[in-house]
Symmetry: C2
Subunit: 407 residues, 2 copies
Amino acid sequence: MQEIHGGVTAAKGFTAIGVAAGIKKNDQKDMAMIYSEAECRVAGTFTTNVVKAAPVKWDQGIVYGNKTAHAVVVNSGVANACTGAEGLGYCRATAEKAAELFGVAPEQVLVASTGVIGQQVPIDKIKAGIEKMKPLLSGSTAAGTLAAEAIMTTDTVKKEIAVEIEIGGKIVTVGGMSKGSGMIHPNMCTMLSFVTTDACIAQELLQKALSASVVDSYNMISVDGDTSTNDTCLLLANGEAGNPEIFAEGEDYAKFMEALNYVNIYLAKHMAADGEGATKLFEVKVVGAESKEQAVTLAKSVVTSNLTKAAIYGRDANWGRILCAMGYSGAQFDPEKVDLYFESAAGKLKIIENGVSTGYSEEEATRILSEDEVTAIADVKMGEAFAAAWGCDLTYDYVKINADYRS
Amino acid sequence: MQEIHGGVTAAKGFTAIGVAAGIKKNDQKDMAMIYSEAECRVAGTFTTNVVKAAPVKWDQGIVYGNKTAHAVVVNSGVANACTGAEGLGYCRATAEKAAELFGVAPEQVLVASTGVIGQQVPIDKIKAGIEKMKPLLSGSTAAGTLAAEAIMTTDTVKKEIAVEIEIGGKIVTVGGMSKGSGMIHPNMCTMLSFVTTDACIAQELLQKALSASVVDSYNMISVDGDTSTNDTCLLLANGEAGNPEIFAEGEDYAKFMEALNYVNIYLAKHMAADGEGATKLFEVKVVGAESKEQAVTLAKSVVTSNLTKAAIYGRDANWGRILCAMGYSGAQFDPEKVDLYFESAAGKLKIIENGVSTGYSEEEATRILSEDEVTAIADVKMGEAFAAAWGCDLTYDYVKINADYRS
């Protein structure tokens, strides 16, 4: 597997673009489109929030229904959530507009939105945006980047990546883009993530691969514990790589999974690192767990703890908060057996052994916690299972961004 | 029932004091003691965190064991959590020191600690503090206040209250004090709360009353979603009011419960309002729920949501975040039936009706949200059940306090 430049346009046959359609102020980019002339098989995972945005409902109709698509239309600025029947009608109108231009059925156009909850989308601007984007669609790397930029809200950096693998003598590419910075605590998938591939793969396996991959990627990140109404991850496969169709689990499927996991974990970690107001990527690894489930529960509890996150911001090795967050996670373990380490590019330090302080140097701990990416490793000494979760520190700026979000 | 001045010394036969014992810097008060010469029946509720501080383990031995006590010794500054066998030994040493001075058994002295996790308590200072406190014990209101002040950590105000009721022609008093500002998301009880009463009541009923009361008081507050290792609520009853013993549920028990609930809800709300960095008390009421459990789940999810709390700080009626937090709570409901109101001393405003915006005035909403105490009321229109939860806003100062806590 090899990482290459690009994102959603890296795979053969995919074009994209991002433009300013007047939804956001100050001529900021706010609409993106992905298009494949060849029909794509589609897989998707969605928010588990009872409150589902209209585009989530629209896309679920496609992913659980015809399972094929040619295009994705995305807007940022307005989430089209809590907008009732009117909001769902605007999803259909958006899909119909694109379908008309591409000469496909509306049920082959996926729709996604992100932004403020409770406002109706300006449908005339969205229709005009689609008309504006169609002639600009391009398979270039730059066009993919424009799309990745257009879906950002409070994100500070675009997130895109692509990798190549070889299947049956053919180069297969998997590329993706995502956005997400606040309201990030996916319990199915993250805010918005779009992955395209030219792999030829049976639809059931495509969905199986995506559902398995989100468990170890998007579902393991948290910025603020708030699970969004709009979380959507879509995977489109147009088969243009010409590889022999992957129709069963086996070596080819494993290669594809590896590439998909790489792309999803990359995008997930970069969303965590770009958490609203964040200054650091905070990784939590739980090792020696009795079961994967236990490891996941412990790792997520620590990465979500406000007190721990504030301590990480302060470069303070306040390990009691980590042990405390493990303690209230709901998972059972013996606190008096736990070893805990901090690790970063600056080194690795054992902080507690069997539940009590090692008498480590606070200066050394602060030096390790001063890096941009820091990891806490907890060994609960009960078995062989393992999990990693990713989050960020809690800063003044998180509060600032979210106290003033709509002003 | 009548509210009166005072706290833990309001009930007959209880004395208390708070002093500086040198555990904290700058001669701040850091030790408190409560004492009743008459033996008290004791009830207690404790943290559900798997990681339990040593004093929690010590007190559980008493509450589940002999169920009687004469004294409580509390220190602030050091939590005595994650301190292993050595830490538990210091609890016993603390109890033994007080027991020796009072001529009672060590198993009749309760111990509580709050502060930094992972450090051993300075036992010599604690023993000296007990010696210093004993001759200063007093039944005065001022002595109770000194005790309430001595248990504070990042709290900005002391929390104490007392009420009187009449049972069988006798005046019965219930008074309490508590502390708690960060690491507050009790799942059993809050950081530290001590309630004294001169009621004569059977021990089983005392525990039953306390266990029922914490459900609607301490268990319904959240500052930051972090459930502490030290949460302890103790209720001591010395019987000195001379009322006919309450030995069964009935009118007298109901009166006692009413007084106990009043004291506990008052202390709980004041802990929420004094949340670290908080500028507001944020109350969430869920009405029209199918069951009490559903109402509790929904109310707690909203009051814990960082995004909602940051919006409350910004006086921003960002109601989508409230509906979103209800949606990921785990409780089932129909988002398209929900009505939501904001209410404060400045008025009451319907924000959404049947899941969509009423087109309310943002200025009016901001005016309502500018008060010190604001309430969100969600009507899910499924039944008659109700719950209230209390929290606070999320501010820059929360981050500041917790990034720098140990420095």
